[in-house]
Symmetry: D2
Subunit: 139 residues, 4 copies
């Protein structure tokens, strides 16, 4: 199954909407931070260093499927547990589980790929095969 | 199939991440705006008025499944087309398709419910059966 | 001078713009969180509890003056030090100083007021005289 | 005085906080967009093109002073009027005025500079003298 890392989040006033609950895109920001936190906890250098050495600019999201089970509000503390469920040739499935104490708040399965800039057109990016050394660090 | 509405978005510098492309939670903010825009275009009053008359505080997201096909950057214009794919008793599936000209950028199917505050505990919310009059306005 | 509290922030990928540095409105989000963190550290209940007891919905910003001295990027850690520089009858000046180790990144002086909802029109808010008990807790 | 440009904003649910009003960092996002909109309306190419030709990555904010006069909520429409109040050798003062119909909502004076990446350390940026051709386009 590989490693699982956790990241703590304290919900802030500005994370909440007029209904007084966390505005859902905010969970995705936190999950994105948890995704990078996972790699850095496994010893993978951050993307701005990767870009200089390997050309990798990050792991853009290709697809995700999220369920929101309970609402949460500011002042509360959340824990995001993150692991990689599956490695394929060019993509991997990263799973985030967000809890408040024992309660499940939401969860998401993200399909991501390691991407580099296109040599011809620097504004375009494309996926590469999953680097062996990164894969090893995460297991 | 019911109505389809469209909303235009111009991508701004601050919508983009260090890779120079739209940071994906931003698409969900736009889709959330497109969701409310759909209802208001169909003649449904905004939630702050609904809350006073019917108690409905909005249509929180219960689940969504999104695919990101191409990246986009600032200065570009996007169109979000929104419709309701399915009405169930307590939830509905709202579909957003984001395009740049003819190109598909991303798409999402959102499961949402009309929610009211709990009479006992105002900080809790729960789903109600889909109001008949709102359903009719959207077809 | 009164109390000074500190709040830690770890900069995330999604906090940064295409130039690779923190997008400045993000600093204001953190300062807003630091503002509430200051009051809660002083023993003032969060606004959603205040609203039920005293009607206070928060401390909206009336004015601020910020200087951005150095840029920062993701993976770095910031400390926000917060104190109240001055109490007037209806407003107070709250100062935030953001540092990375010994380096000053940015600072802001915010003029804020304790606000309640208007009795006639719940969508309007207005400032009240600074509550004595809150003032005392913060010194 | 030079040119004045205007940008329209429709306030969305997710732009508002638990008090039901626009969360103030959001105004700064809009002002930042209005800043770039000003330059592009004057015929200045966007930063991702500038970076390739002149090395300019944008106009980071050095300082700003903002006043928030009235609150606003979702469903409302705002107009942001933007002009440059003063040109100095390395910085300029850009003024944004945000109105809802005839009412002033907020305003800010921003001190910005045209910046390029450091030749030695690409992660550092520094201000350059204001390019003559850009200055001329904006008058």
């Amino acid at each position: 199954m590989g490693k699982t890392t956790t990241m703590k989040v304290e919900i802030r006033f500005g994370d909440c909407d007029p209904a007084g609950i966390v505005f859902f895109p905010r969970y995705h920001r936190w999950m994105d931070a948890a995704s990078l936190h996972f790699f850095m906890s496994c010893g993978v250098p951050p993307w701005h260093l990767q870009e200089q050495s390997t050309g990798i600019i990050g792991t853009p999201l290709l697809e995700h499927h999220a369920r929101f089970v309970r609402s949460a509000t500011y002042g509360e503390h959340l824990t995001i547990s993150t692991c990689i469920q599956e490695w394929r040739r060019k993509v991997f499935i990263q799973k985030h589980t967000v809890t408040r104490g024992e309660e499940l708040i939401c969860e998401s399965a993200e399909t991501r790929a390691f991407c580099v800039r296109d040599a011809q057109d620097r504004r375009r990016i494309h996926a590469i095969a999953i680097p062996e050394d990164i894969h090893r660090l995460c297991e």
